[in-house]
């Protein structure tokens, strides 16, 4: 079957549009989460410095801002892996089904 026919059949398959929608919703949610965490942290620094400088424990040295900052770094790594894991298993499988269906 020609490439064009495959393309045409995929484009007309409602499952394809459903798939694109599902994945877009997921990546948009993940993007929003990342934006909220990062700009939340930045705005907290801009508006409430004393809070971030508060000590973790009385008599201690480390301030709340440090584990929070390291937390943002770790969150960034973790959220990327969560997305990639789902995209490379569930989404990849759905995508392959749609392509195979069109190629039949």
């Amino acid at each position: 079957m020609s490439q064009d026919a495959v393309v045409d059949r995929i484009t007309r398959n409602p499952k394809f549009h459903e798939f694109v929608r599902t994945r877009n919703v997921y990546s948009n949610i993940m993007t929003m989460l990342m934006l909220i965490v990062y700009f939340g942290y930045i705005l907290l620094i801009a508006f409430n410095k004393p809070f971030l400088a508060t000590k973790l424990s009385a008599g201690g040295t480390i301030s709340i801002g440090i584990p929070m900052g390291i937390g943002v770094l770790v969150f960034t790594i973790v959220i990327t892996w969560i997305y990639v894991r789902r995209a490379n298993t569930e989404f990849a499988a759905t995508k392959n089904d749609i392509i195979e269906e069109a190629a039949k």
């Binding site: 394809f16 942290y41 201690g60 900052g69 943002v72 960034t76 990327t80």
Partner: protein, 560 residues
């Protein structure tokens, strides 16, 4: 003014304007040090090994596709390391650990900004880039658009970003080699030019990628060792490390909280946007997505890259604190004339290097110095390759020859361009030797997020986007971001020497305005574009969407 005061004043000045974004990339004017033989030997070994790899890669580089994408044969894990290598520059290693050394907490804020763009690339761009593109991001942005104008824009955007980045790297290389190897500035600049040209010219993307991977591994191993040694001194108790740092640091407890890095919210958000979305518009980074065989590997690449870069930033934070506790109590060894007031030997970017000597002796110091210089070499090679693709693949093959050009000719043009760019890079390094280039990387990120990113984003995701809209918006973003950066305090006052308060644009980064303006222009011009060309482009969207989402018809692993 004493050196330390000068460094502190400079840091505070940059910080006050929120432009510490620039500080991470500024290696400043350095004093030539004594010749460091061990470092030079280590560096020579590195060059020897990479030349061997280049020879091997040359045998595999036969077509333009091999030259630009390593034949698509790099795995996700390897590519992740190479991307991390592109991103972990000498400036970010020495600059961020130096900033942590000087200000503590603020250094952490800074490094976070450099990491958060990666998930955005993963969620929105990585897969679509891989599915639509062939050699560079212009393939993606111009997928359904009129090749002439869109590629002219994409090549302009790429070359501008590459040029600013190159200047920062070349000047950094010259300053660094005076500090670390005790050789002359001009020697460094020429060395970088010649070695880098050899990698790119003969080994193309294959050699560049492996140089990047080796360097990334060396940097990660070296930084891990330093952080472990520091933690070992404190029984792996960060509280003890922090307590000691607060005790000895001149700023005392202030290093535990946010300082002057972020003051006005507009600058804070604007710098944040430039870092976050600028990463998604850097041509030499985007180019790496075409070296992997498929979208799955492209996603894995970014996940690994994010992991390594994030891990590296956590290490630099520990290294900065380790430098505080190891260097400040021993001014006789590390400070000019043994006096803290006179500043660190070699300047504000040296804490990581001095710490290397403190925890690992002369051999390890030599190793870290060699790694720092190798880093610049590898980043410059990546930049040159991406500049060459903009000239040969976009301007020559697509715009000038309308795509009627065979692979052999395109490869030949690429190689000629590489030589020309290598010479230009050396000249830029010479011309800018005495200039303060701190703002260059900031400028590169501002242009990347205001010009390249909006065009890429809208062309891939918005069905009504047209050539006219994309090109108009892209150029608006490009011109506005450059103009506003020049008029900002970091350039207008700190670099051009105009009086304080005279900068017309008061914020640290133009991103919040220039990126918004680019998106608005793309939207407006596209909406009012009623040409037949525009209608054709809108009709072509479903096919583009199909390919970007499924990869059907995408350039295959090799041969393209």
């Amino acid at each position: 003014m004493s050196p330390l005061k000068h460094i502190l004043a400079t840091t505070t000045l940059l910080a006050a304007s929120g432009a510490a974004l620039a500080a991470g990339a500024d290696l400043g004017q350095a004093q030539k040090q004594d010749m460091n033989v061990i470092a030079i030997i280590m560096f020579a070994i590195f060059v020897g090994i990479t030349m061997f790899i280049t020879k091997w890669a040359a045998g595999k580089t036969k077509t333009a596709a091999d030259f630009y994408t390593a034949g698509g044969g790099i795995t996700g894990f390897q590519n992740g390391l190479a991307i991390a290598g592109d991103y972990m520059s000498a400036a970010s290693f020495l600059g961020i650990s130096g900033l942590v050394f000087a200000t503590g907490f603020d250094g952490l804020i800074f490094s976070i900004g450099w990491l958060v763009g990666w998930p955005i690339i993963t969620f929105l761009m990585a897969e679509r880039l891989r599915n639509l593109g062939k050699f560079n991001f212009a393939d993606v942005a111009g997928y359904r658009f009129d090749a002439g104008p869109i590629r002219t824009f994409a090549a302009t955007g790429s070359l501008v970003v590459v040029a600013f980045y190159l200047i920062a790297q070349m000047v950094g290389a010259g300053q660094l080699i005076k500090l670390l190897f005790g050789l002359d500035y001009i020697v460094a600049v020429c060395l970088v030019g010649v070695i880098m040209m050899t990698y790119v010219l003969f080994g193309g993307m294959t050699a560049t990628t492996w140089v990047q991977i080796i360097k990334a591994v060396m940097l990660l191993v070296g930084a891990t060792f330093m952080a472990l040694m520091v933690m070992l001194q404190f029984g792996f108790n960060f509280e003890a490390l922090a307590a000691k740092a607060v005790e000895v640091h001149p700023k005392k407890d202030a290093i535990m909280g946010p300082g002057a890095l972020i003051n006005d919210p507009i600058s804070a958000v604007s710098v944040g946007m430039a870092l976050m979305f600028g990463t998604a518009g850097l041509p030499h980074i985007l180019m790496r997505f075409f070296t992997v065989p498929n979208a799955k590997e492209a996603r894995k690449s970014v996940a690994w890259a994010t992991t390594w870069i994030g891990y590296f930033y956590i290490l630099t934070f520990i290294i900065g604190f380790g430098a505080i506790t190891n260097l400040i109590p021993n001014p006789a060894d590390y400070y000019v004339g043994g006096e803290i007031a006179k500043g660190l030997k070699g300047g504000g970017n040296m804490p990581a290097v001095h710490l290397a000597g403190a925890v690992g002796g002369d051999i390890f110091l030599g190793f870290i110095s060699a790694v720092a210089f190798a880093t610049i070499l590898a980043v410059v090679a990546g930049l040159t390759l991406s500049g060459a693709s903009a000239v040969s693949h976009d301007l020559y093959a697509s715009v000038w020859r309308h795509g009627n050009v065979d692979q052999a000719t395109e490869l030949r043009v690429s190689k000629i361009t590489t030589v020309v760019l290598g010479i230009i890079a050396v000249l830029l390094g010479v011309v800018f030797e005495k200039q303060n280039v701190a703002f260059m990387v900031m400028l590169a990120f501002a242009v990347a997020c205001s010009a390249n990113f909006p065009v890429l984003f809208m062309s891939v995701l918005w069905k009504d986007c047209t050539t006219r809209g994309a090109v108009a918006g892209g150029f608006v973003g490009l011109i506005l971001s450059v103009t506003l950066t020049v008029l900002s305090p970091a350039v207008w006052e700190a670099s051009l020497g105009n009086p304080k308060g005279s900068a017309l644009f008061p914020y640290a980064s133009p991103a919040i305005f220039s990126m918004t303006a680019a998106f608005l222009t793309i939207w407006l011009v596209s909406m009012f574009d009623m040409s037949t060309q525009a209608a054709k482009e809108r009709e072509a969207f479903p096919a583009q969407l199909m390919r970007s989402e499924t990869g059907v018809g995408a350039s295959s692993a090799s041969g393209h």
